[in-house]
């Protein structure tokens, strides 16, 4: 028997759907931010008074953060 160490219990694995989403999110991020897809959306021009490249990059970035937030909440709820 391995003895229980004085460390926090390892986290339980949340559901399969969560794992799929958690695996997919960085792939989505890489596709949108680090492939030539970036070029499609970053032509000169303006959206809401901001240059479109800035709007696109910061918008995608913020979107990823929101998705990551939702996933993290699910992960921590699964461990509660």
């Amino acid at each position: 028997m391995t003895t229980p160490q004085s460390r926090a219990a390892p986290t339980k694995a949340p559901g399969r759907r969560f794992r799929d989403l958690a695996t997919l999110l960085p792939i989505l991020g890489v596709l949108l931010l680090a492939t030539p897809i970036v070029s499609i959306f970053t032509q000169s021009g303006q959206i809401f008074g901001l240059p479109s490249p800035i709007f696109y990059i910061f918008g995608i970035w913020a979107g990823l953060i929101v998705l990551a937030f939702a996933l993290a909440r699910r992960a921590n709820r699964a461990n509660r």
């Binding site: 926090a8 986290t11 794992r19 680090a34 030539p36 070029s39 800035i54 970035w61 990551a68 993290a72």
Partner: protein, 896 residues
Amino acid sequence: MGSFNLLVSICLIYVLALFLIAYVAERAADRGRFNFLRSPLVYTLSISVYCTAWTYYGAVGSAARNGLEFITIYLGPTLVFIGWWWVLRKLVRIGREQRITSIADLLSSRYGKSGPLAVLVTLLAVIGTTPYIALQLQSLALSFEVFTTSGGEEAPSPTSTAFYVAVGLAVFTIVFGTRNLDANERHHGVVTAIAVEAIVKLAALLSVGIFVVWGVANGPTDIFTRMDPELLNAGEIFNKRWLTLTLLSATAILCLPRMFQVIVVENDNERNLATASWAFPLYLFLMSLFVLPIAIAGLSTLPSNANPDLFVLTVPLAQGQSTLATFAFLGGFSSATSMVIVASIALSTMMSNHIVLPLWLRVNASRNPASDDVRLLLLRSRRVSIAVVLALGFLYFQFTGGTGALASIGLIAFLGVAQVLPAMIGGLFWSSATRSAAITGICVGFAFWAYTLFLPSFGGSFILTSSTLANGPFGISGLTPHNLLNVQINDPLVHAVFWSLGMNTFVFVLVSVMTTPSAIERLQSVQFINVFGQISARRGITRSTPIEDLLVLAQRILGREEAMALFKTQAVAQDTDTPLPDPTSEFITTLEREIAGNVGAAAAHAMMGQVTGGAEISFEDMIAVADETAQIMEYSARLETQSTELAQTAEQLRTANDKLTELSKQKDTFLSQVSHELRTPMTSIRTFAEILRDSDPLEPEQLNNFASIIHDESIRLTRLLDDILDLSFMENGRVQLHMETVPLSKIIDRALTTTQAQVNDQGAKILRDADAEKMMLYTDPDRLSQVLINLVSNALKHCGADQPEIAVLSGIYGDQLIIDVADNGSGISKDDIEIIFEKFAKLSSKVTAGSAGLGLPISREIVKNLGGTLSYEGTQNGAIFRVALPIANEHQQAAQ
């Protein structure tokens, strides 16, 4: 009192406040009030040590020159963090399970606790980090200079500024960074101070940004109308450089020693990682939100010769906002100091664990590591290492400061440290990755990095001359550092990333495929790659290491109380009778891991090796690995086939139960047989004793007869008890053999003398071969003659022939000495052959009536103890018992 003195005072007050915060946090931690210190917020903020003065000031500078490109430095880490489920989660879990103390320790531990690999990564980290520390010192010196010259004062010497800052940081780091020896324990004071600094730098940058957007301009739309449209380079934002920088920054967040320190080593709850997965990208998002507006404001309001790297300070100063500028200065100060503090802690841990300690171990190889105070040595070396790291940074600044070499050093250092990446990722996911591959991959990558990027960064003044840079060494254009094999990658950074990481990965994979991992590498790779699988407990194999030695070693390194506590819990877990646990290999693994939390895997392994007798991975360990691998495979299959699994478990339980029942039955049978064997002589003794007591005077002849029966049966009883004890000793292997060299004839003589009376009784004939008996034998003569006595007396008892003949013949066959005891009886029936060697076997045949007793089982045990075998070789023409003993050549020859 000029603004310089004011600035110095503010810095001092700020630093004192940090000391205070760190102190309070340490006190709170000591009292066990961890809740806040362990919150995901503090963890996330401490990761912001990623944002150094280079990013704080340099991002605006970069934005002013290259537009959106600066964002890539933040996008890489963002992608790594939102993808935490892939890599970070595994790193953190491994870090906790294996008590990893640094990135060098991680690689060393994964690749068989390799000392050389740890040294290599440590050197790489020092080479990659020293310029970075110099960069922080430079940015501090520069920002001091900007402030004081703007106040019309004479600029302070950058050297002295950098020197005092370096000394101050060394003191802070030594005080709060080396309080705990266990590098795997959290530095609560430091981490809390870093978190506060993270808030300060974010708040400072946001304040400047808000001031620029709404104070200088009229909102976001207005500020971007002031922008030169060329700056954004719209339509061509994504290019090779964009991709390369994103990759590089993603690598940096994983490989930089200070990032590894805050993300993995200082992590004490995996759930904090889930929070950081969105909170840290959010922090980066906020840090970069106003970078472009500040750059635009600087470009549009300041003279064209103004240094864009200092816009964060100079824009508020030019607008007369000296308070805001001071705040901005504190933000930069925070960025620089937090980076230096964490980096020097990480490097000092690596240097003391992977360089100082192994050297010390080597110098004192003859001494047991348990006999010296390793703790003190480690603490001292860690403190000295911090001073050395800062001194290196200062010297580097001193020699290169003012030249252009420092400007691009941030990315250059990134790439240097990034050479660890293939070995690290390979180690986490690929079980075939080997130590040699890791070492060669890193060395090759490092060489390419040095040749294509690092050395050229000195602009021809260091090792590589300018003509080499332009035309290649000896004019060979294919070897030009910035254009190897004329690949036509114009950007030197992209070129260097391609060659160094590309060749590194290629060599790493190639060598991995060509080499085979050693046993300990396999062991570790299973532990790493399957860190989320349920690795079952190892079987407890008791090693011969005295537990006291282990305790002494543990006390020297873990400290007295912690060591005792560890040993006590382990003893309780093992359910031993003593307060100390048994030195099972499982316990040794646990202890080694605990020690690794202090000194790193390689040193811990070496120290344990010295105490446990330098035993390499044993055969049992290999079996355990195989078992574990099998169990892991079973575990993954289990998800789908749980019912099968349950059935199997039930079956295993049933088998185990059957075995226990069988054992218990055997024990019962044995006890019942012992009881029978003891009661039989006791019955005779009691009955005759009562007859003697109760009867009227008996005739002298009868009296004599009865008394001698009592006497004989008493002797039988005693012999039986002796036999039982003898057998139990033999079976437990606790028998003491008194080996000596004697002629075989002497042993046979003794056996026949003892059985002489019986031989005479039966009128038996004894056959011997005098020539064969001349040989010398290295054995325990008492025990061997006991065996022969048993065999001869059995033969006499059970032979059954009218004219009994017993032959004791010997000879050498191959490397064995054979002694046969044969008789001319009817032999032993097939049914009985199976059981004659069992204790108290009851034979079925009429001739061998009665219990065979313990003679044969004892004889067999004796021969086994002598290293040989006792078997029955008989036929219908008589029983033959064969003793086969190995011939120990050297003894034999020595005797001749």
